[in-house]
C-alpha cells in the first residue's frame, strides 16, 4: 500500500461483501520497483563477464509464468561467450587467491548485506520470473540466500587453517535450475568464493533475472572483475561450459538425465564434479504422529514451490491404520489452499514455471490414472490464464506404478500404505533416488530407529523442507553426489594440495599457507567493511519495513552508498516514537536538554573529519 496517500473513493460494496462473506480479496505486492529495474536495463540484458556487461548476439525471452507476459530478453550464450567468461575467471584467479580468506570474507559479507539491502527487489523479481508465491521468495528463498553468504563469509578466513592440505580447484563452472534460481546461485557461488575459486555461472533459461540482478550487486560492492561471471543461455550454453578445458570443476543442480550427460562429458577430463539431481522423497507417517502436524507437513512437503522441489516429499507412506483419517484431513486442508498470481501475498500455490513443465505434470498424472491411480483435487478451479496446476493426491498407487517411481516435479503427491516400520523402511528405500526423507511420529525411539535405515542425504523428523547453510545438502544414488552447505560442502571446491595440476592454477599457494595478518597483500588492499545505513527510530537502528534501498550519488553521479528507503509504516513508527518521547523530553529542564545537546556536539566534534569527508563526497 506504499504511496497510497489518500484513500477516498472506497468501494463500499466491496467492504459490505467482505464483511458478509469474509473473503480474502486480492493482496498484490507492488512490482513497480522490479519493473523499473527491468526498464533501466531496457528489458534487454547482456552477459556479465569480467565485471562488465557483454552484448549477446541472439536473444530469448523470459516470461512471468503466472501471467504469460514477457519480462525481458536475455542473450543465448555461445561457445565464444563461455570462453570469454572462463578466460576472465582464470585471469582473476591469482589475485583472488592471493587476497586471502579474510579479504574474501569481507566481499562475501558485503554480498550478503547488499542482497539484504535489496531483499524485496530480489524477492519480487524472483516471484515474477519463476511464478513462486511472494511469501516464499520473501520469507524463505531470499533469507536463506543471505544466510548462505553470511555463513560462507564466516568460513572464508578459516579455510587455510581448517583445510591445511587442500587448495582451491580453480575456475568453477556452475549450472543451476529454475526452481530456486537465486538460492541455487547462492549455494553454488558462496562456497566457491569462500574457498578461493572464481566462477562462471549459467542460470536456468526460464529464470535468469535474479542472477543478473546479483551480477549488478557484484559491481555495486566492487567485487574484483572476473571473480563472478554470469552467462545466460539454454542447455547448449551449459554444454559449452561443461566442455571448456579451462574449467576445473563443474557443479550442477538439475535433472538426473542431464546430470548423467555431464558425468559422461567430464569423465576422464580431470574435472571435479558435484551433482544435485532428482528425488522421490518419502514422507513417512506413523500411527502415533500428530496428524494435524502431518497435514501441515504435507503442505510444506509437496505444495511448497508448486512441488518443484528436488527434495519434495512426493511419496506419502502412511501406516495403514490411519490412512483414511489422514486422507480425509488432507482433503479438508486442500480445499483451503489458495492458488494465484505469484505476487499475491495471500496465496499458497503459484504458477508452474513453464508450459512445458505443466505439460509434463499433466502427462504423468494421466499416465498414473491409466495405470489405475485415483486422482483427487480440490473443488475450486485454477485461474484460467497462466501456468497453473491444482494440488493433487494420487491414491491406489503401488511401487510398480510409474507415478510412484518417477519424479513428477509438480504439486502431485502419491500415497501408499505400510503395515510395519520394517515395511516403511523397505518402501522408503525402494527408489532409484535418495535425496531426503521425513519421518512423522511422537515416539523418539521409533524416529531414531528408522532415520539411519533410510538411504537419503537429509532426514527430517516431524518437519520437512527445512534448510540451513550449516547443514550439508545432497543425495545418495541417482540423486547425485557432493554436498552443499556446512563444512562438508566446502570440500567440493577444494582439492588435495598434492594434485599436480594444482600448480598450474594456483600460483605459489604456500605463500598463503600460513595465515596471519602480515600475509595481507598491501598492494591489493582490503575491501572496506560493508556498512548498512539504516533508519534511526525510537533509539534503534532498524531496517526499512519495505525492504528497499536507494543509491545516494555524489556530484559526478558516483555511488556514495545505499540508503534505506522508508515507507509509510516507517514514517508512522517514527512519528509514533517522536510522539512517545515528546512528553518526557519536553518535561526535561532546559539545562538537562542543553547538556544532551552538548554531548551530541562533543561526539560530532570527535568525528569531525568523517562528517566533513562525507559531506564533501556527497556535495563536491
Amino acid at each position: 500500500m506504499e504511496g497510497s496517500a489518500s484513500k477516498q473513493g472506497l468501494r463500499t460494496d466491496i467492504i459490505a461483501r467482505a464483511f458478509e462473506n469474509m473473503e480474502y480479496g486480492p493482496a498484490p505486492e507492488s512490482e513497480a520497483r522490479a519493473m523499473a529495474w527491468l526498464d533501466a536495463h531496457k528489458r534487454r540484458f547482456g552477459h556479465f563477464i569480467d565485471g562488465r556487461w557483454v552484448e549477446g548476439s541472439v536473444h530469448f525471452v523470459t516470461r512471468s509464468p503466472a501471467r504469460g507476459t514477457v519480462l525481458a530478453e536475455v542473450p543465448q550464450g555461445t561457445e565464444a561467450d563461455i570462453d570469454l567468461a572462463v578466460q576472465a575467471a582464470r585471469k582473476a584467479l591469482p589475485k583472488w587467491q592471493v587476497l586471502g580468506g579474510h579479504a574474501r570474507a569481507r566481499y562475501l559479507y558485503a554480498l550478503a548485506r547488499a542482497i539484504q539491502k535489496h531483499h524485496r527487489l530480489f524477492a519480487v523479481l524472483e516471484s515474477l520470473d519463476n511464478g513462486k508465491p511472494i511469501r516464499e521468495s520473501r520469507d524463505i528463498d531470499v533469507p536463506l540466500v543471505i544466510r548462505h553468504f553470511h555463513h560462507h563469509a564466516g568460513w572464508a578466513p578459516l579455510i587455510e587453517r581448517e583445510f591445511p592440505d587442500w587448495v582451491p580447484v580453480g575456475v568453477v563452472g556452475q549450472i543451476i535450475p529454475w526452481n530456486f534460481p537465486l538460492l541455487m546461485l547462492a549455494w553454488k557461488i558462496a562456497p566457491a568464493l569462500a574457498t578461493g575459486n572464481t566462477v562462471v555461472l549459467k542460470p536456468a533459461e526460464f529464470t535468469p533475472l535474479t542472477a543478473l540482478l546479483f551480477a549488478e550487486i557484484c559491481k555495486e560492492i566492487n567485487l574484483p572483475p572476473g571473480v563472478v561471471n554470469i552467462v545466460t543461455g539454454d542447455g547448449r550454453t551449459g554444454a559449452a561450459l561443461v566442455r571448456h578445458p579451462g574449467v576445473s570443476k563443474i557443479a550442477f543442480t538439475g535433472s538426473t538425465e542431464v546430470g548423467r550427460i555431464i558425468r559422461e562429458a567430464t569423465a576422464g577430463s580431470g574435472k571435479k564434479l558435484s551433482l544435485e539431481l532428482g528425488g522421490k522423497s518419502p514422507f513417512i507417517v506413523f500411527e502415533d504422529a500428530d496428524l494435524d502436524a502431518v497435514v501441515e507437513g504435507v503442505v510444506d512437503a509437496i505444495w511448497f514451490n508448486q512441488g518443484q522441489v528436488c527434495c519434495a516429499g512426493s511419496r506419502i507412506l502412511v501406516q495403514e491404520s490411519i490412512e483414511q483419517r489422514l486422507l480425509a484431513r488432507l482433503r479438508v486442508r486442500m480445499e483451503k489452499l489458495r492458488i494465484g498470481d505469484s505476487l499475491d501475498k495471500a496465496i499458497d500455490i503459484g504458477a508452474i514455471v513453464d508450459q512445458s513443465q505443466l505439460a509434463r505434470v499433466v502427462g504423468l498424472v494421466e499416465q498414473g490414472e491409466r495405470e489405475g491411480a485415483k486422482r483427487w483435487q480440490p473443488s475450486w478451479a485454477c485461474p484460467e490464464s497462466g501456468c497453473f496446476y491444482p494440488p493433487t493426491i494420487l491414491t491406489n498407487v503401488h511401487p510398480s506404478s510409474t507415478v510412484a517411481q518417477v519424479e513428477i516435479f509438480g504439486p502431485v503427491v502419491v500415497v501408499m500404505a505400510f503395515r510395519t516400520p520394517e515395511e516403511a523402511v523397505a518402501l522408503a528405500n525402494n527408489t532409484v533416488y535418495g535425496l531426503a526423507a521425513s519421518i512423522w511420529t511422537e515416539n523418539i525411539n521409533l524416529a531414531l530407529d528408522i532415520a539411519p535405515k533410510i538411504k537419503a542425504g537429509t532426514i527430517w523428523i516431524n518437519c520437512t523442507n527445512v534448510f540451513d547453510a550449516a547443514s550439508g545438502f545432497g543425495g545418495y544414488r541417482e540423486s547425485g553426489y557432493g554436498r552443499e552447505g556446512g563444512k562438508e560442502g566446502l570440500y567440493e571446491y577444494l582439492k588435495p594440495r598434492w594434485m599436480s595440476e594444482a600448480k598450474e592454477i594456483i600460483e605459489e599457494p604456500e605463500v598463503e599457507a600460513e595465515f596471519s595478518s602480515s600475509s595481507f597483500p598491501r598492494d591489493i588492499g582490503l575491501p572496506p567493511i560493508d556498512r548498512t545505513a539504516k533508519l534511526y527510530i525510537s533509539g534503534k537502528q532498524v531496517r526499512p519495513d519495505g525492504g528497499y534501498s536507494y543509491p545516494v550519488r555524489g556530484p559526478q553521479g558516483e555511488l556514495v552508498g545505499l540508503a534505506a528507503l522508508g515507507n509509510r509504516k516507517d514514517i508512522r513508527n517514527a512519528v509514533e516514537a517522536a510522539l512517545g518521547a515528546f512528553s518526557s523530553w519536553s518535561r526535561m529542564s532546559a539545562y538537562q536538554r542543553a547538556q544532551i545537546l552538548y554531548y551530541i556536539a562533543e561526539n560530532l566534534s570527535v568525528r569531525r573529519e568523517e562528517f566533513a569527508a562525507r559531506l564533501a563526497q556527497m556535495t563536491g
Partner: protein
C-alpha cells in the same frame, strides 16, 4: 436454522488419552499464519468491521467503578465514529461490539447501560482469575451474576486439576458451572499460559467441551503469558475435532495481549483456515480485548483518510 448450544457429553477419558500435539509443528503453523494470509484495502476494512463485532470489550481492574464501566458500555454501543462509518458505507448498519465483560459487582451498571442494545453483558466468575475459591462459592458467584442480568459467564478452570491430570474432577466442575449458568452462555477460561504443555491445552479443551462449555477461552489476561497463536491453534483444532465427533460447534475466545488490528486479523485467519468461515461470527468467536478497538478504529481511519491518526482522535474507551 437455530443454533444449538453444545450440551456437553458424558465424560470420555478415552477421547483424550491418545492426544498428541507436536509442539514445534504447532509453532511453525502459528508462526506462518500471518505470512500466508493477509487482507488489504476494502477487504481489510470489511474484516476489521467484523472484528469489532467480535469483541468482548473488557475492563477487569481492581479500581473499576460505575463511571469507567459506563464509558466502556457507551463505547461498546458506538465503537466507531460516525464519519468513519459513513465513509465505509456502514452508516445505516449498527456496528456494536459483541459484549462488554466486567467483574460481578459491575454487572448491574453494565446491564443498565446496555438495556435495549444488542450488546451482551458478560461477567467473569468463579474466583477469577485464579479459580481457587471453594466450589460452592464459585458456583454461587455464577448464579448471582446470572441473577443480576449477565447473559454470558466467563469462568476459570483450576489449573492444578490439569497439571495433576484430574480430568474427571475438572469435568465435574465445568458441568456444575454449566448448570449454574443455566440459560447464560458459559465461556471456560483455560489459562493456557499456566498449563505448561500444548498437550495439556488440548486435553483441557476437550474436557471443558465435554463439560458443556459454549466457548473455550485462552486466558484471563492476568497470567504471565496470555493468548498465544500456538495455544490458540491447539484449542481451535480441538474444537474442530469435537465438532467432527459430536456435531456440536463450540466457540473460541482468545483474550489477553491482543492489542493491534494486525494481531486480531491473524487470529481471524487462523480461525478461518482451521475451522472455517462460519466460526467468524459472534456466537462462535470473540476477542477479549479493550485497547484493540482503538487500534482498529485507527486503522479504519487510515483507510478513510490515508493518514494514521493519533490515539487522541478516537473517543476513548
Amino acid at each position: 436454522m437455530a443454533f444449538e448450544r453444545n450440551p456437553g457429553t458424558e465424560f470420555r477419558l478415552d477421547w483424550i488419552e491418545d492426544i498428541y500435539v507436536n509442539r514445534s509443528a504447532a509453532e511453525r503453523r502459528a508462526a506462518t499464519i500471518g505470512t500466508r494470509r493477509t487482507v488489504k484495502n476494502e477487504w481489510q476494512i470489511g474484516w476489521l468491521l467484523k472484528a469489532i463485532t467480535l469483541i468482548d470489550l473488557t475492563t477487569l481492574s481492581g479500581d473499576d467503578t460505575p463511571s469507567n464501566v459506563k464509558r466502556l458500555c457507551a463505547k461498546a454501543k458506538r465503537p466507531v465514529r460516525e464519519d468513519i462509518l459513513k465513509a465505509v458505507g456502514f452508516s445505516d448498519r449498527p456496528i456494536t461490539t459483541a459484549a462488554v465483560c466486567v467483574y460481578h459487582s459491575l454487572v448491574p451498571t453494565a446491564v443498565e447501560e446496555l438495556r435495549g442494545s444488542p450488546v451482551k453483558v458478560a461477567a467473569v466468575s468463579t474466583g477469577f482469575p485464579a479459580g481457587l475459591s471453594p466450589l460452592e462459592a464459585r458456583l454461587e458467584e455464577v448464579r448471582s451474576s446470572v441473577r443480576e442480568g449477565a447473559s454470558e459467564i466467563d469462568v476459570v478452570i483450576q489449573r492444578g486439576l490439569v497439571l495433576r491430570n484430574e480430568w474427571k474432577r475438572l469435568y465435574d466442575e465445568v458441568r456444575a458451572m454449566r448448570e449454574a449458568a443455566g440459560h447464560a452462555h458459559l465461556k471456560a477460561i483455560l489459562a493456557t499460559g499456566e498449563l505448561a504443555t500444548l498437550r495439556n491445552v488440548a486435553k483441557a479443551s476437550w474436557v471443558c467441551m465435554m463439560g458443556g462449555a459454549d466457548f473455550i477461552k485462552t486466558s484471563t489476561g492476568k497470567e504471565a503469558i496470555n493468548a498465544t497463536l500456538p495455544a490458540s491453534l491447539v484449542m481451535i483444532r480441538s474444537i474442530r475435532a469435537y465438532a467432527e465427533r459430536t456435531g456440536y460447534l463450540v466457540g473460541f475466545k482468545p483474550a489477553g495481549g491482543i492489542r493491534s488490528a494486525r494481531q486480531a486479523l491473524e487470529y481471524m485467519y487462523l480461525v478461518c483456515e482451521e475451522l472455517g468461515r462460519e466460526w467468524l461470527e459472534p456466537h462462535l468467536f470473540r476477542f477479549g480485548a479493550s485497547a484493540l478497538l482503538s487500534d482498529i478504529e485507527r486503522q479504519l481511519e487510515y483507510h478513510v483518510t490515508g493518514r494514521y491518526a493519533a490515539f487522541h482522535r478516537q473517543p476513548m474507551i
